[in-house]
Subunit: 294 residues, 4 copies
């Protein structure tokens, strides 16, 4: 399939390679051109402009946030360049509100819009092991499925309303952030009773929480191994804000998400924005009198 | 080994059976004698009094809470009946404070005290698959190990200070309660965007949270299957109070535990104390305008 | 002085009457023209357009929120109509962010911008007893002072940065919302011990809290007199969101403001958005099992 | 009237002087005898034991907390020494639970019990300007009224159930603590926008919050004048714990009280227990990146 791909970060780079491996022709664009050119050797075509990449029947965007996605689609010729009947697949973690706005504008232009955010870090992206939460018109999802198959291990279809997929992704990240906060507070308690975080983690992950995600995040916290970040604390704050914004649009309260947001802000005030988002656990531990390792 | 066992609830019954199967001689006592007598056919000796059960070299207590444990040990002749050099093993979920007090009193009487709370529900107890968090003097732990092996799949040694084991157990239950609150809020959000709880659970447990504990509690919440309770909401409140009490003794804050405690209290005000503790999830969902199933 | 006044709500109407009484010539505009015409008998000139009212040396806006203020200034010819050297005085409760944006745009157009939000309800506005928190360039404030003197009992100068005045206003409303939440929780407690809210209020306001604001809000809560609203719960939610947005712009946490925001959202879910914002107190009381009066 | 008075702290000393001035005969006891002897010159009789002071028809206790009050009454001969028909008036801030227990025991001994906690600091006690919240049997209250008149400016009668008076006192202290937390967060916000705390306080107390209590606590916070403490942060923590305990006994949630409790604990972890309880405001401000004055 001929596709465009805009946004060649750590995730995008891996995803494009898997699309190329599966035999698709990919025209890539990245604001910092050098990152796009990394993919030329793998067979990617390097587009000179957003319009160039967007003039394909299916175009994937994988940009950092709402601002860059909106700027790309609404202010850089993307909307005009995408052919009638074309599909824009946004795989980044964006707000439910922007997803709804993208859907509206693409439909008005005779195009389709699919939200397909992913669960997984760069190693999973490299191994084509992402989980993809996809929502949009059924025929558009059908057209995209071969692409999803090339990048992920499983696709979940979440109906015709694109923002539903974004909200599922946002809720998933809220669940991880909550796990981090929980482990941070649990360790604040047990460490005050003489149990090291690593020992507590050992008990938990070998008994009632034998899940990789507990081992991964628990390990980061127990070792205070927050650099290099797999996903920065600032991005964690971005995502919990997305959860609260999605809740606010429906005028519902998420008290635990509020607590986590407030603790992320405290972590940022302490200067930890560039650490892994698991460093949220330091807030509870420091508030409980436990110094971080130097 | 000759042992006493006091407290024949749903858990205690299974635990005694496994001790008998492993060849130990068990003298059981239960306030409601009929429950103890259930075990006679399996070979248990039915003691007529707490003193009777307590006059063994190792005595296990598995009572409902701090009050019943303290009443049994301090006000019913247990302390005097336990032989010098005997070991009291408390396997119930009690407070760190009571554990410390038990240790002190037993040591003063020339006896040993071991805290050995368990992770697992009655089916796990029946299958001798409990996880045991044990702490106390090394030689006492060594003497108890054959008993732990008969009841559980793995024992974690947490040092010489008995209350450390209680705090680990309490922290583990806090982590489960947090998982319930988190899933309740996440569903409050996604359901407001048209995603059923079961569908959200399917995505989560087949992607980033492929852990039995998410399937179990997520399933209870998605189906609103809160009766019969595996562990009541009132007991959930008891345990989160233990977490806050343990933190308060060290004068540290656990803001998420405070939030959960408050939501358990709201659930009790709504009349849900006899439901499964997973019904905590209803608070977030009802506050978000989602009616419970009739 | 010749002035324009845009936004003739319950507050604006009183404020214009006091400006007219003080001898100023006021050209008024309101989207619903009939409300503006109420002031013709008092000597106001009724402008036919936003531009008409805005073409005065000093123009006051007193609109409902950020959206209406931004639409008026940026999308309706206001900016072009205001003369060079003219002053726009925004006396509504708007966000710090919008205030900064207004200042920037007016300065670019060779105009001045003053934020001058007020404390006081319509009766205080009618009696020219408002408190005015004003910030902006010193000469612009000096020019406005006679107008402030006509409408209020005291003006506080808060420096050259207009958004400082908005943040003070927002923080003041946060303090009132907190007082409401506090009284709601205190009554939830005392009522559960057999003390009626009116009795508790009597003790408090005749001992350590002998302040009108406690009598006013305490009285509304004790009597559950939430209709007609002096200030709606929806507006209360709007203002606590402004506090959190102002904090978020500086990336700081306000945990109590988060708690209040969440409780306002719960109140809205319960259908109370049109009640007085003091009805926030019902959330704590209902969560504590105390039914509202029918 | 012949009375006993046990507990000669900063408050008790002033209260006894006013009782003596009003012509009452007062037998005083204090654990540290030297403090009691300070009152000999004013005409007080110095008792040699708790029993000595307690063998009067009316006995007032003004001890530090639940522990010292319970030890005095239940473990030091007080109950036996108080004559049949005698009245024990506890004027300290104790828990609702202890008040109920005292009432029960005194009634069983044919004695009366009155809870009469006070609002006011030592200067108010010295000037006989305390506010007294009193509850107990009507005839006992009537007997005590001349004493209350000698010590306070006004007595509020809160019914026959003594613990109601304690809960009103506890709720009042919760309201002050909430005012402190609120002002702390409001200043965290406004200071981040360039408004000094003193300036913000000036606006608030000269507009919508013209109450002495705002001036007093706002002034302490604006000046960061936390030493010497009028009431220590540790006592503030004690009192918010009493509020949560009273709520817990009725199984109701007070989320704002939970938040304040957690912040008091964080303040204690930071080493501020001996500062004035207004130093709670430092938690919000430091979490928002604002350093305390050296």
């Amino acid at each position: 399939m001929e596709i465009g791909f805009i946004g060649i970060g750590a995730m995008g780079e891996c995803m494009v390679r898997n699309l190329l491996k599966a035999g698709h022709q990919v025209s890539v664009f990245n604001r910092t051109r050098a990152r796009a050119e990394l993919l030329a050797a793998d067979g990617a075509h390097i587009a000179n402009s957003i319009e160039g990449a967007a003039s394909n029947p299916v175009v994937i965007t994988m940009l950092a946030n709402d601002e860059s996605t909106a700027a790309t689609v609404f202010e850089s010729g993307f909307l005009a360049a995408l052919p009638a009947g074309g599909v824009h697949v946004c795989m980044a973690t964006i707000s439910a509100e922007l997803a709804a706005r993208l859907a509206e504008n693409h439909h008005a232009a005779g195009q389709a819009y699919v939200s397909a955010p992913v669960f997984g870090r760069p190693p999973a992206a490299a191994a084509a092991q992402l989980f993809i939460a996809a929502a949009g018109k059924a025929d558009a999802l059908t057209r995209c499925q071969p692409l999803f198959d090339a990048m992920g291990q499983r696709t979940f279809h979440l109906g015709e309303s694109p923002e539903a997929a974004n909200v599922v992704k946002i809720a998933g990240n809220f669940m991880i952030a909550s796990l981090i906060e929980t482990f941070g507070e649990a360790c604040a308690l047990t460490r005050n009773y003489g149990i090291e975080a690593a020992q507590f983690l050992d008990v938990m992950t070998n008994s009632i929480f034998p899940a990789p995600i507990y081992k991964i995040y628990g390990g980061l916290i127990a070792d205070e191994r927050f650099q290099p970040p797999g996903f920065t604390l600032r991005l964690g704050l971005k995502d919990i804000r997305l959860a609260l914004a999605a809740a606010d649009d429906k005028e519902i309260a998420l008290p635990l998400a509020s607590l986590i947001r407030d603790n992320y802000l405290k972590a940022i005030t302490r200067g930890d924005e560039a650490l892994d988002w698991a460093a949220l656990a330091l807030v509870a531990q420091e508030d409980a009198g436990l110094a971080r390792r130097s």
